[in-house]
């Protein structure tokens, strides 16, 4: 059983999805998906444990040896991502039953869980697999289910957002497909480990450069990296709250993983950063992204939009850490990956609770919520503080590592800009606080009550995780460091 963990990780939710379709009663489907996701979480925990103690796990599909067969290769980086995805998925799913009750027509509930599980399985698959083409397939499964999930939003704009995302996403995925094809052409292999050995031999060819460019641009589209982020705000804002919470916490993380995997492992550090002006490009785009997106967030009137822009800004931080291309920088990125999942998971889930009670996430409707929904609002405030990077929250931990990594590299102005970026976070977080706590409640909203427990429990689980991992950083820092060192030490 233990040896089969890597495949079980993916196959359980993947099989659960069609089985879910057979369950006619939505409540049953919910419980079923919760169990499937919980199992995935359990497995990812065991995998991480195993990887941290005994190193990379290699699982050969059907006993076929790589590079002929497909292999699943779990090192520290994969294991961390698997844990983030399955954990957040499980916590978010906990609130799903209550949330979609209000946001999605009853006859689509079962279908919702099917799509959710498919999306989860595909994301886990992207991370777990060691085969480049497999990545593409899983990427498309996750994207297709994502388009459908987003289109389930109440607002008709959800359809339009989903359509736009579909166009952008398909272009991105096709770019990746072209890149993979070119790589295959040059090396005759699709196994990522094998690629990393064979690519250096042909590194100085135009084909490989082209392949690299296609892959990176494709991933950056998926990543919503500035300036390729235009699809994200609407997709997040109009999707059902649960979907937003799930994607905000996981989807972009998977794309970051791909970026790291392809640049650091497959193409190799020396190719990615020495031969190309990638460092300058990424650090500039990352910082511009932080400022443009944070400024945009300040002017949003819909809180979901606001946090969506904030997500783009946070991606900017991860890109900056990534572009340093040192072990410390990568550690910072991975830490922020983990921490940002916790923050945004908590925030968007809390927004789901607000949506559940008042049916809108317009900032103007937040008036007086500080008194009417004190527990939910407290969660939003703490999540916001974490976003700003106040000590004792996870946001501080990532900021500390990121700034330290930047300074170690001698990039003083970048350090200043990173910190200045968090000042913008203060502004947009405090806009919400001021409306919620200082404006009197709107007329006719006196009956609004605190969100139900099915929301408060997962929200506060994440909020407490925000604080816990801000104080006890052993797990997150250790794993992130181990992952980044393994990327720098030996090739995957």
């Amino acid at each position: 059983m233990i040896v089969h963990l890597p495949i079980l990780q993916v196959i359980i939710p993947l099989m659960a999805a069609p089985l879910c379709l057979l369950l006619t009663r939505p409540r049953l489907a919910w419980l079923f998906s919760l169990i499937a996701s919980g199992l995935a979480f359990l497995i990812s925990g065991m995998l991480l444990q195993q990887v941290m103690t005994s190193g990379t796990i290699i699982y050969e599909m059907g006993g076929w040896e790589a590079p002929w067969g497909i292999e699943y290769r779990i090192d520290q980086l994969n294991a961390l991502l698997l844990l983030i995805i399955s954990a957040l998925s499980t916590i978010v799913l906990f609130a799903a039953e209550t949330s979609i009750h209000k946001e999605i027509p009853a006859d689509k509930h079962t279908l919702f869980y099917v799509l959710y599980l498919l999306s989860l399985a595909a994301m886990l698959g992207i991370v777990a697999t060691g085969d480049a083409f497999n990545v593409f397939v899983f990427l498309e499964i996750s994207s297709l289910s994502a388009y459908a999930l987003i289109a389930l939003g109440q607002d008709r704009r959800a359809l339009w957002a989903s359509y736009q995302y579909l166009i952008m996403g398909t272009i991105g995925a096709t770019f990746i497909l072209i890149g993979i094809g070119l790589m295959y052409q040059m090396t005759g292999t699709l196994n990522m480990y094998d690629l990393s050995i064979r690519l250096p031999e042909v590194a100085q060819t135009r084909t490989v450069f082209t392949a690299f460019a296609f892959v990176i641009v494709g991933i950056c589209l998926k990543l919503a990296m500035f300036p390729l982020h235009l699809w994200l705000p609407n997709a997040y804002a109009y999707a059902p709250s649960i979907v937003t919470a799930f994607f905000a916490a996981t989807a972009t993380k998977v794309a970051i993983y791909l970026l790291i995997r392809f640049t650091f492992s497959v193409f190799g550090l020396s190719f990615s950063f020495t031969h190309l002006p990638l460092q300058l490009l990424f650090v500039t785009l990352g910082l511009v992204g932080v400022f443009v997106a944070s400024t945009a967030a300040i002017y949003q009137t819909n809180v979901k939009h606001l946090f969506a822009y904030s997500s783009i800004a946070q991606i900017g931080y991860m890109i900056v850490g990534f572009s340093i291309s040192t072990a410390a920088g990568l550690t910072a990125t991975l830490l922020h990956l983990f921490n940002h999942a916790l923050m945004k998971g908590a925030l968007f889930l809390a927004l789901g609770a607000v949506m559940y009670r008042i049916g809108s996430t317009q900032l103007s409707n937040f008036q007086g919520l500080g008194r009417q929904m004190p527990v939910t609002m407290a969660a939003i405030v703490i999540g916001g503080l974490s976003l700003i990077g106040v000590p004792l929250t996870v946001g501080f931990v990532s900021k500390w590592y990121l700034v330290l990594a930047v300074i170690e590299n001698g990039w003083w102005p970048v350090a200043v800009l990173i910190l200045a970026g968090s000042l913008l976070a203060i502004v947009y977080v405090w806009r919400i606080v001021e409306v919620a706590y200082f404006k009197p409640a709107l007329a006719g909203t006196e009956t609004i009550q605190e969100a139900p427990l099915s929301f408060l429990i997962p929200v506060w689980t994440l909020v407490i995780a925000n604080i816990y991992f801000g104080i006890d950083t052993r797990l997150s820092v250790q794993v992130a460091q181990a992952a980044s060192q393994s990327l720098f030490g030996v090739s995957p």
Binding site: E140, L144, R156, R157, W160, Y163, G181, Q185
Partner: protein, 116 residues
């Protein structure tokens, strides 16, 4: 050079045509058509690269001793399936958008959204 690699030229032309349609056209259906052309160009690209001159299908027979690489063709079968799924989903979305907005023109949809 040109003749020898003509299928790659076809790939590039199709790719650009498809990409241009996606970007330049406001009609949602036309965008989907463009997207399909774009994807198809990649399918052709994969198949082209696997073809070995004079090679045959990989069948174990005495008279055949030069094979084309079958793997990219298998891969592209998967990609075609994905492409069809994408197109179907996009068309379904277009239908829903038509129902919700009464139009499938990008600028009209934007206009209605801005009014809200």
């Amino acid at each position: 050079m040109f003749i020898g690699l003509y299928n790659y030229w076809v790939v590039i032309v199709l790719m650009m045509v498809g990409f241009y349609i996606v970007i330049a056209h406001g009609n949602l259906i036309k965008k989907i058509v463009g997207l399909s052309i774009f994807q198809t160009s990649v399918f052709i690209f994969y198949i082209s690269m696997a073809k070995v001159d004079g090679g045959s299908a990989p069948i174990l027979a005495d008279e055949i001793n030069q094979y084309s690489n079958p793997l990219p063709q298998v891969l592209i079968l998967t990609a075609i399936v994905v492409g069809i799924a994408t197109t179907a989903l996009a068309l379904a979305l277009a239908v829903r958008i038509k129902e919700a907005y009464g139009s499938i023109e990008e600028d009209e949809i934007q206009k209605q959204d801005n009014l809200d």
